[in-house]
């Protein structure tokens, strides 16, 4: 388990005073079919973009709440880390982007039959969002609507 104490002093002081959002009530959708026949998408907040996509804006106050569509047949080795946070070690996702955006792994889980199929696209956010109001109000609903239109059954979400 990650520990808050592994972070720098200034960041710890910031987090100690930070008011986290609490989801209440907690929404709940049961999986409507067996996982082995479900259409599954990934949502990662590792700040990954493809070479032809705009990097996340590291200077936007409160955090960049935009997202990028990542086609499921994209080459994982071409994903570029544009996450602004200096509070985590980026070496792992640089060495293997699957660690934060498991494009290859989700395909392998489909090949082995654990999931039914991989959705045609996944979504990439940059999770360093200190003011999540615009995320909740604007971009998360737009992102969710895309996956509803794709008839996605289940989503695995991966932070860094």
């Amino acid at each position: 388990m990650a520990e808050l104490t592994e972070l720098g002093l200034a960041l710890r002081a910031y987090l100690a005073a930070y008011r986290w959002r609490t989801i209440d009530p907690v929404p709940w959708s049961p999986l409507r079919k067996p996982l082995a026949s479900a259409n599954v998408a990934l949502v990662s907040t590792a700040g990954m973009v493809l070479p032809n996509q705009e990097p996340f804006d590291n200077h936007r106050k409160g955090g960049d709440v935009s997202f990028r569509e990542i086609p499921s047949n994209a080459d994982a080795s071409t994903l570029i880390d544009t996450h602004r946070s200096r509070s985590f070690d980026h070496a792992g996702i640089h060495s293997d982007p699957n660690l934060g955006f498991p494009l290859d792994r989700i395909r392998e889980l489909a090949d082995e039959g654990t999931i039914g199929r991989v959705n045609r696209r996944h979504l990439s956010f940059m999770g360093s969002i200190t003011a999540p109001g615009r995320l909740v109000r604007d971009t998360a609903p737009i992102a969710a609507q895309l996956l509803v239109e794709d008839e996605v059954d289940a989503v695995l979400l991966v932070p860094v």
Binding site: L4, I23, L31, A38, N98, G100, P159
Partner: protein, 83 residues
């Protein structure tokens, strides 16, 4: 912050009928923010699926998370990855 962001996106997906499970690096944030389903993993920030270039470990974590989707429970369902 990443833990909060995935939780808020997951909540929006669940409200629209899509089942979700979040990997979480900090149990205390999971308990505070309350994503619908969370698998808390014993790894440092930057390493949500365990280790780079270890496909089997990454898939074990993913199978454990996805497996939570098939279990009945009440939200928020927050579990620890046993390894």
């Amino acid at each position: 912050m990443c833990n909060q962001a995935v939780s808020l996106i997951a909540a929006e997906l669940e409200r629209r009928g899509i089942a979700t499970v979040c990997i979480m690096l900090l149990r205390e944030i999971a308990e505070c923010v309350r994503p619908p389903r969370a698998l808390c993993v014993p790894y440092p920030h930057g390493y949500p699926l365990g280790a780079p270039n270890d496909a089997e470990l990454q898939k074990r974590v993913m199978r454990a998370a996805l497996g939570m989707l098939e279990r009945e429970g009440a939200p928020p369902m927050i579990e620890d990855y046993a390894g």
